[in-house]
Amino acid sequence: MHGLEAIAFNKGWEIAFLGVLIVFSGLVFLSLAISQLYKLLDLWDKRMDVFYFIKDKIRSLEVKHPVSKDSFGRSVTKYQPPPGTVASRPVPPHVIENLKLYKMLSETISSVELFLLPRLLKVAKKRGLARPHSTINELIQERLLIPDGEGYFQWSYRALNHLTKLR
């Protein structure tokens, strides 16, 4: 038996096909590896940056307890009572006095519950009230004056409760 007949008899074609398959698979794998090598080199260059990035990510996965959202709908991590509810900490007397005053002012700029904060500030300045900026800020911090989430402000239930008690 000679030539092609001998090759076929000894499974030469199968062996040749297998050989071609192995070589080409190896070439494909090598070319893929080389084409992605730049990413590995880049990662090696940034290895310390990646380390700190992962470290910070792990730290940020610590459970937080947001209990409320700010006017943009973002969760706030520091506890704040939801708008309108009565907070456990009492409101300082001077803030209550300011609440009365600013509530009256708000009624001069708007006949409805919602009003524009810059207008309230403007009216307070016009009337010569002392430190209107920090006063308004205090009313906001005490959750007496709250945003409606669309650019307007209103008095909270907490504020209205205090005003009712004063009558």
Binding site: R74, L116, L121, H133, Q141, P147
Partner: protein, 138 residues
Amino acid sequence: MSGYIDLLKRMDLFKELFPRELEKFASIIHRMKILEGEMVFQRGDPAQQFYIVLSGDFMVYFKNGRSFTLHKKGDIFGYSTLITPFKYSGTVVAFTDGEALTLSGQDFLRLIQGNAELGGKIMKKIYQIMNERLPFTS
């Protein structure tokens, strides 16, 4: 400068940046004091500075009178420095004495335009913030 890096790292806008990217920002940042009642900038002014709140409370209001307030460290205002026509779209007033970090609009733009990855990370956050504030401007 390392003090600024630690500060920036804790802020939402910069928390995804790598340390050497933070260094670039830290090198162009300045600190400024703002007084109660001060108008930081007015709507229509050329937008030259980008601000990051360190302390204090601020009100941002727009032509339609709508407003929102900022009270947290890391809150930002003045992002019109990065967006045409580079004029402030709102007015910012300080409710209390405070401090802010400022970046010149030119330096900020140069930084993010010179580095696509860095620019992508920052602008993604800024667009998120712009989106949140869009209802207030219309």
